[in-house]
Symmetry: C2
Subunit: 302 residues, 2 copies
């Protein structure tokens, strides 16, 4: 069965709406600062989606599009201003940073007040996740994956979970969340030999590599659950427009995940499509955590 | 082949000795504060071993045996004093804490200056390990395990590593170190179903559960490498002294690991005995990191 991420997200937005009413009655409107550095086209699309969702829900969004040449110090100064602004409950820094800041990613992220770290990437929040000490915020995409499984009442304790891809943003924290939920967890990656040997054992298989068609039907266990987190823009097979080298935003392209969805769909118990699977949950979790941040402040000021 | 932890540790002490000469020529003697709270017999033995090793090497040790009823605030005050003492380069808090402090373990550990956290348990150091950002200090037992494999030039990248036991002190950080070294890592624990299915795939099997004989020969792959980190005191089979209920420190007891060592020895490529395997490396790594801390200070003051 195909998982409809949008429906699950809608359910979350329903809960958010009632929290927003409660906050409003206390004269609080949650505020999310969205910081984009540079002009990466995908990053612009993602940040605009987040801004749009804030507007739809009635969350204040503050969009900062910083010049791609900005210095590390100027970024940190911006963060400090937002840390001290009581109207801001969450600070999201769109990743990846431009090349000159890339090696300082965590130095910059660690400047965010951990009470506003709604993307969950601060070393302290990550450390608490690792220590199973309930961080205030979790990385949004892994949190969305767990939310999907909760929605379907999937038992996680004792299950074999295989995570393919071990990025700091998705694979590693996701593996850690599954471990904290008592799954037996295997983490595979580009150096893994005989990937299929591992994926075939998975009751729950999570794939976040950005390699289209990495996972084929012969690599999965029948009736397992597949969360496809990869997202890649590829040219449609039926187009042959040789003038289209530079424009990847048009109808000749489509988004695909890491799994051979069409052939796996009826062989698996549940599978997320790309797009429309995990993606909507990532944004929903960002909104959820921003509202949680405002609720936390409210509950601790009363 | 049986791994001789003592020989590997001796090698490390040789390097430490030459660093100590260098430090001494700059009028620096590394100092390690060892804090024990309460009267747990094993903890007393472990801390005394650490103190003794400091003396042997010429590292200053400062042993604080705090009353088992001490308040959290008094422990934290003690830590703060040591944080501000320039003669102290490392602070070791023996775990576990007594019951009334147990739930505050990380709150207390996080009071240690991360530049003196030679046991590597501060949330920031753990978070950096998780993010593969080279923490200043690593947890000593997992670091000792990696040191053993380095000593034997064992290639780790691409290998199947299975870690059984997922404690914050050993299993989890060890799994993370292996992942950072590009192994495919599976983490098993008490909720794992069919443990044997996983252990049979391991090129390197690490076991840290405290369950004697958990791992038997039929559960391991021929010519694999076995690191047995468990340590349990059990009664010798050939004793039948019913008057010995209260005294576990005498000759009727012996220390064992989690593996059926005798039967596995010739079936595996390398295996650590218990005692004498990983244990000596844990202390060696504590000494190594204490000296590193003093070296770091020296190199950054010049």
């Amino acid at each position: 069965m195909s998982i409809c991420g949008k429906s699950i997200a809608l359910n979350i937005y329903k809960n958010i709406n009632s929290d927003l009413v409660k906050l409003k009655s206390n004269n609080v409107i949650p505020g999310l600062a969205i910081i984009l550095i540079g002009d990466d086209k995908s990053s612009i699309v993602y940040t605009k989606m987040k801004e749009k969702k804030c507007k739809e829900l009635g969350i204040n969004s503050y969009y900062y599009h910083l010049n791609s040449n900005i210095s590390k110090n100027d970024v940190i100064n911006k963060i400090n201003t937002l840390n001290n602004d009581n109207n801001i409950h969450g600070i999201l820094m769109q990743l990846p940073f431009p090349n000159h800041l890339n090696k300082s990613t965590y130095e910059i992220l660690n400047e965010i007040d951990i009470k506003k770290d709604v993307d969950g990437f601060h070393t302290t929040n990550v450390g608490q996740l690792f220590l199973n000490k309930t961080p205030r915020f979790y990385p949004c995409t892994p949190l969305g994956c767990i939310e999907i499984l909760k929605y379907y009442n999937v038992e996680i304790s004792g299950k074999n979970v295989v995570v393919v891809g071990c990025s700091q943003i998705v694979g590693k924290p996701l593996a850690m969340m599954f471990l904290n939920l008592e799954a037996t967890v295997t983490i595979c990656h580009i150096k893994t030999k005989n990937l299929k040997e591992h994926t075939l054992k998975a009751d729950i298989l999570c794939v976040a590599t950005g390699v289209p068609n990495l996972i084929t039907k012969d690599m999965i266990k029948k009736d397992s659950i597949i969360l496809d987190i990869g997202i890649t823009k590829i040219k449609k097979d039926d187009t042959n427009d040789t003038n289209d080298k530079d424009n990847k935003n048009n109808k000749n392209y489509k988004l695909v995940g890491d799994c051979d969805y069409d052939n796996i769909l009826n062989y698996s118990k549940l599978i997320t499509p790309v797009p429309g699977g995990v993606g909507p949950l990532t944004i929903a979790m960002l909104m959820r955590q921003t509202v949680n941040s405002a609720l936390f402040n409210l509950n601790n000021s009363n």
